[in-house]
């Protein structure tokens, strides 16, 4: 039998090699890109399957154990993030495979859209390598490097559409992520000054509270908050996500944002939980609550579908931060599990929404919400995907969003922090309202004959529907994921005891 940890470096090797090859051979980039994402998906599933009973695992790169070398670390959370990235990424890749030819085929655009396709694939594969590396990293400085790989690839992808607005958004995105990552690096330096260790687990054990450590952790945290676009620092997110090409918007909103949040979760929920102040948790939770409300209200007033979806991301990110104070006060793994569920179900639903919005855009040539009548007849699968993803975002059962919110709600009431529960419910109501704004157009007939601009390939509709349905039925697999999250701490039975005794 293969040792599961030895598969881990392939999660970085395959996308990197794919990225290099796709750049070297532009004419084959689609084939290379697709096969690399498929291989990555199979590999992620294989690792999850093989190591589900043996986590946590470690893999010493170069054969050097810390403090000299760098470790890759695999635990339940890593596995969930890797699988989420692999599956969502695969669906988005299949979408992209149809997306670029559809744009190239539409006439005048060959000069612009051809290169877009050639560069999309290497950039996306490098981004995938960065994400995988980030989820696997067990080293403070290595995290900085993977953050930068992710950020650079994401910025280049944002600007890929070649529009002025997207370039402006991309530059702003780049500057923001540089500010964030430099703060992170500064924090890393300060922590290194205090402990002289980069290996995360050792660092967490060694660290003692002192002004240098305070400022180090504060800098790391704000840097990551900025990169995660937590309210009120979300200003860069809507323009960047909205003006990018459709597959890129999906990647950014579903996966890239999650990378920096994953780090916050790692640090605040695990490594440094011991010395982080309680007030800090409340502060982050409070900002998350504000994000839920502000994002929801802003989403309500948007006129364009993609804009609405982007603000919905701002709102949904708030939930993740609300979970932090609840996790801090909850001894059991159920609130942790809730947070993971919110992350992955949002990834599926949001990617599905962006892909569906892209289909609408391709077909109609616009995405003005008030003129969406007739979508149902023109793009049945897409409109179904929009509705299903909407249900998941609202948090209705059996979606993963429901499980997440449900567990968080019960945990918040159980730990006496009912105010977070109220925010969660208010956020859900706002989500119902803004999703309803979109979904109600699925029931109306087109005013005239269908004014379709372009044909949308079946694979493009199907991949968006696949992600939507996946995020909807995710609740059914909840115990499987909870097993990963609670693998070594608590057995499944006692986790479920909180819900169904």
């Amino acid at each position: 039998m293969i040792e599961p940890a030895s598969l881990a470096p392939w999660l970085i090797i395959i996308p990197l090699a794919g990225g290099l090859l796709a750049f070297l051979l532009p004419s084959r980039s689609v084939l290379i890109g697709l096969s690399a994402t498929v291989a990555n998906g199979l590999l992620a599933l294989a690792i999850t399957f093989y190591s589900i009973n043996t986590i946590p695992l470690e893999y010493a790169l170069g054969g050097w154990p810390p403090p000299a070398g760098i470790l890759l670390r695999i635990d339940g959370l890593t596995l969930v993030m890797l699988t989420m990235t692999a599956i969502t990424g695969l669906a988005i890749s299949i979408y992209a495979q149809g997306y670029f030819p559809a744009r190239i085929g539409s006439g005048n655009g060959v000069s612009r859209h051809g290169p877009q396709q050639d560069f999309f694939w290497p950039l996306w594969l490098m981004l995938l390598a960065g994400l995988n590396g980030l989820f696997l990293a067990g080293d403070l400085f290595n995290l900085y490097v993977t953050l930068e790989v992710t950020a650079l690839a994401a910025v280049a992808l944002t600007a890929l559409s070649g529009k002025h607005t997207s370039e402006v958004a991309a530059l702003r995105y780049l500057l923001v992520s540089l500010l964030g990552s430099l703060s992170y690096l500064f924090g890393t330096v300060l922590l290194y000054r205090a402990c002289h260790v980069l290996h995360l687990a050792t660092l967490g054990a060694l660290i003692v509270s002192s002004p240098v450590v305070w400022s180090g952790l504060a800098l790391i945290t704000v840097g990551l908050l900025l990169k995660t676009a937590l309210f009120p620092m979300h200003f860069w997110l809507p323009p960047a996500h909205v003006n990018a090409l459709t597959p890129v918007s999906a990647i950014l909103s579903a996966l890239v944002i999650k990378a920096s949040f994953y780090l916050i979760f790692r640090f605040w929920g695990d490594v440094f939980m011991r010395i982080l102040p309680l007030g800090g948790y409340s502060l982050l939770g409070g900002l998350g609550a504000a994000a839920v409300l502000w994002g929801g209200i802003q989403a309500l007033r948007q006129k364009r579908l993609k804009m609405l979806i982007a603000y919905s991301t701002v709102a949904q990110l708030g939930y993740l931060f609300i979970a932090l104070p609840i996790i801090r006060h909850d001894a059991g793994p159920s609130s942790r599990f809730a947070l993971v569920y919110l992350i992955i179900s949002h990834a599926g639903a949001k990617a599905a929404m962006f892909l569906a919005a892209g289909n609408v855009f391709l077909h109609f040539g616009h995405d003005r919400i008030n003129e969406l009548a007739g979508v149902k007849d023109a793009l049945p699968m897409t409109s179904f995907a929009l509705a299903v993803a909407g249900v998941s975002l609202m948090g209705l059962p059996p979606s993963g969003g429901f499980i997440g919110k449900w567990l968080l709600l019960t945990a918040s009431f159980a730990s006496g922090q009912w105010w977070w529960g109220i925010i969660l419910i208010a956020g859900s109501l706002l989500a119902v309202a803004y999703i309803y704004r979109v979904v109600r157009h699925l029931f109306t007939k087109a005013p005239g004959p269908s004014s379709g601009k372009r044909q949308v390939a079946r694979t493009m509709e199907a991949s968006s529907l696949f992600l939507a349905v996946l995020s909807l039925v995710m609740g059914i697999f909840a115990p499987l994921v909870s097993k990963l999250i609670a693998s070594d701490a608590v057995s499944l039975a006692s986790l479920l005891a909180g819900v169904v005794p």
């Binding site: 209200i297 309500l300 209705l396 059962p397 309803y436 109600r440 109306t444």
Partner: protein, 585 residues
């Protein structure tokens, strides 16, 4: 768990395939190569449910820990009664729909939704915990949307939209209720036997949340809009089976959540009484047969609501009253679905005199059954109802004793009206198809005749057929109702109208001008009157334009947050705040 013998293994298999088999069929319907075969086998999907009713004992419970945070499936006495008629209704409707939609281009899509709704309906009856019930309830509710809009006409889309709006509101209410229950109760299991600690708020949440599905009074208006536009097989299950899911929800959740259900029993009885008569009165103003039947359902559900209220008032008789409710649900479920199927058949049978005669005869029989004609299941439930009302506390026993026969009269009046607006055959379909439809309908008819007699619980209520007083009690409301109905019909004929007064279907949302002026309905559901020629049927819902009033202001605030300098200040403040928090930790 090593000692699973063959029998208990079989039980577990049956319990999980009750909702599982329909879902499995959906998967195969999706897969093109085996669509045709699966379509032919559709009626099989109801088989596990029927087998569960017959063979699985009540104490068998399946724990499904991998499913949705740990589910629990089983069948208790009340569940068995509900599953009995629900499975039968779905079975007849599947047979009927399979025949009548056999040349519909969208039939696979229809049956996809149909089977999901079926799985939800079976699953919610089998679920033994609150979350499972909620999950299957939601599944059924959302899938039913696909059934309503199947024909894609503007009316269907309008009905679907109103339905969906209500479903979402209902889901939110139920979710809140479930949270409250989960917050106070040790668990969400139905079998705990301990009452909850919920108060008036929980009662309102539950009443409205399930009332939407059960057609309870303030939130009933989707029913008469949705039933006429859905294909016949769908309206049969909507009115016969799914409507009872709301009722079951009340029965399951009131004891689980409310600390003192008796406090609200009187309200429930009053609302039920109003619904029982309101449905008839508004139904008389309708001109479409299926709409009339929908209003009749509202009225009949009113009676079941009354029974629910009685059960809340007198906890000592709860078990007895529950079984009466179950009887009533069986009776009404079978009768109403068969009425719908017959109405659908009549529509498609043109120029076939003998067939129309048979159909009409059958429909008259069912109508009489609904009104409580002696020797029918209707008479059985009327007697049982009377027994229940007799056991109530003083004011209510008298009131119900007076009013219950009047409801029978009202039912009969509405049935007469139904026959006057009965559809004449419009389209004739192929012989073979009609025969299959007739067969399904005939099976339903058989169910109406024999269903309740087969049910063992029914034997507990002696209704003394040969007693002349009982006979007279059963007959006079029908005679009176027929006479009144005939008189009303004459008046309408004289006024050269189809009904004496005309009301739009969906009464309160139908009177759109009025509500538009008051801005209440549009505020929630965006239903607005359409200027002629405007293709956009629905405008912006009010709660969204409410925000657009502050559009500029919100945009300005967001613009401020878009500026680097503001971001810089926020960023640094946050950083310093964190450091300060560290310092004071």
């Amino acid at each position: 768990m090593t000692g699973i013998n063959f029998q208990s293994g079989l039980h577990i298999l049956l319990l999980s395939s009750g909702a599982g088999l329909p879902l499995l069929f959906v998967l195969f319907l999706w897969w093109r190569p085996c669509r045709k075969t699966v379509y032919a086998l559709l009626p099989l999907t109801t088989l596990p449910a029927l087998l569960i009713v017959l063979f699985v004992p009540s104490e068998v419970v399946v724990e499904v820990p991998w499913f949705f945070m740990g589910g629990r499936m089983g069948i208790d006495p009340i569940g068995r009664a509900f599953l009995f008629f629900t499975a039968l209704v779905w079975c007849f409707s599947t047979l009927f729909g399979q025949a009548s939609l056999s040349d519909d281009p969208n039939r696979y899509r229809f049956f996809g939704y149909f089977l999901v709704a079926m799985a939800g309906n079976f699953g919610l009856i089998l679920a033994q915990d609150g979350l499972g019930f909620y999950l299957f309830f939601a599944m059924m509710s959302f899938a039913a949307y696909g059934l309503i809009i199947h024909d894609d006409t503007p009316e269907a889309l309008r009905a679907g939209r109103i339905y969906l709006g209500l479903v979402i509101i209902g889901e939110v209410l139920l979710f809140a209720a479930l949270l409250m229950i989960a917050g106070m109760a040790p668990g969400l299991l139905f079998s705990t036997g301990q009452p909850g600690t919920g108060g008036a708020l929980l009662f309102v949440l539950l009443f409205l949340g399930f009332g939407i599905k059960a057609g309870a009074l303030p939130v009933h208006f989707w029913l008469p809009l949705a039933h006429p536009v859905a294909p016949t097989a769908a309206s049969a299950v909507l009115s016969g089976a799914m409507i009872k899911a709301g009722l079951l929800g009340w029965l399951r959740f009131y004891p689980l959540g409310l600390s003192n259900p008796g406090d609200y029993g009187e309200i429930v009885i009053v609302l039920g009484l109003i619904a029982a008569f309101y449905g008839v009165v508004v139904g008389l103003g309708q001109r479409e047969a299926k709409t009339v039947l929908a209003y009749s359902s509202i009225s009949q559900m009113g009676l079941m609501t009354i029974l629910t209220g009685c059960a809340m008032l007198t906890p000592t008789y709860r078990a007895t009253i529950f079984s009466v409710i179950a009887l009533y649900a069986i009776h009404h479920g079978l009768a109403k679905s068969t009425l719908f199927l017959g109405t659908g058949l009549l529509k498609s049978s043109k120029n076939q005199y003998s067939q129309r005669c048979w159909l009409t005869a059958g429909l008259i029989f069912i109508a009489l059954t609904l009104a409580g004609f002696p020797f029918t299941s209707g008479a059985m439930v009327k007697t049982a109802l009377k027994n229940v009302s007799g056991s109530l506390a003083p004011p209510w026993s008298g009131i119900l004793h007076l009013l219950l026969p009047l409801t029978a009269v009202a039912t009969m009046v509405l049935m007469v009206h139904f026959f006057t607006v009965m559809p004449t055959g419009k389209a004739s379909s192929s012989k073979r198809k009609q025969w299959r439809e007739m067969l399904a309908w005939g099976a339903g008819l058989l169910g109406v005749v024999a269903g309740l007699r087969l049910w063992p619980e029914a034997a507990r209520f002696h209704y003394g057929i040969l007693d002349s007083a009982v006979l007279w009690n059963g007959l006079w409301p029908i005679l009176m109702g027929s006479v009144i109905g005939w008189l009303i019909h004459r008046m309408a004929l004289r006024a050269e109208k189809e009904s004496i007064f005309e009301l739009p279907p969906g009464d309160i949302v139908g009177v759109e001008g009025y509500w538009n002026q008051r801005k209440i309905i549009p505020w929630f559901t965006s239903i607005q009157q359409t200027p002629p020629g405007d293709t956009q049927i629905f405008g912006t819902p009010g709660f969204i334009s409410f925000f657009s009033k502050y559009q500029g202001e919100l945009g300005k605030r967001e613009k401020i947050l878009m500026r680097w300098k503001v971001i810089g200040i926020l960023y640094l403040t946050l950083c310093l705040c964190l450091i300060v928090l560290f310092a004071f930790y």
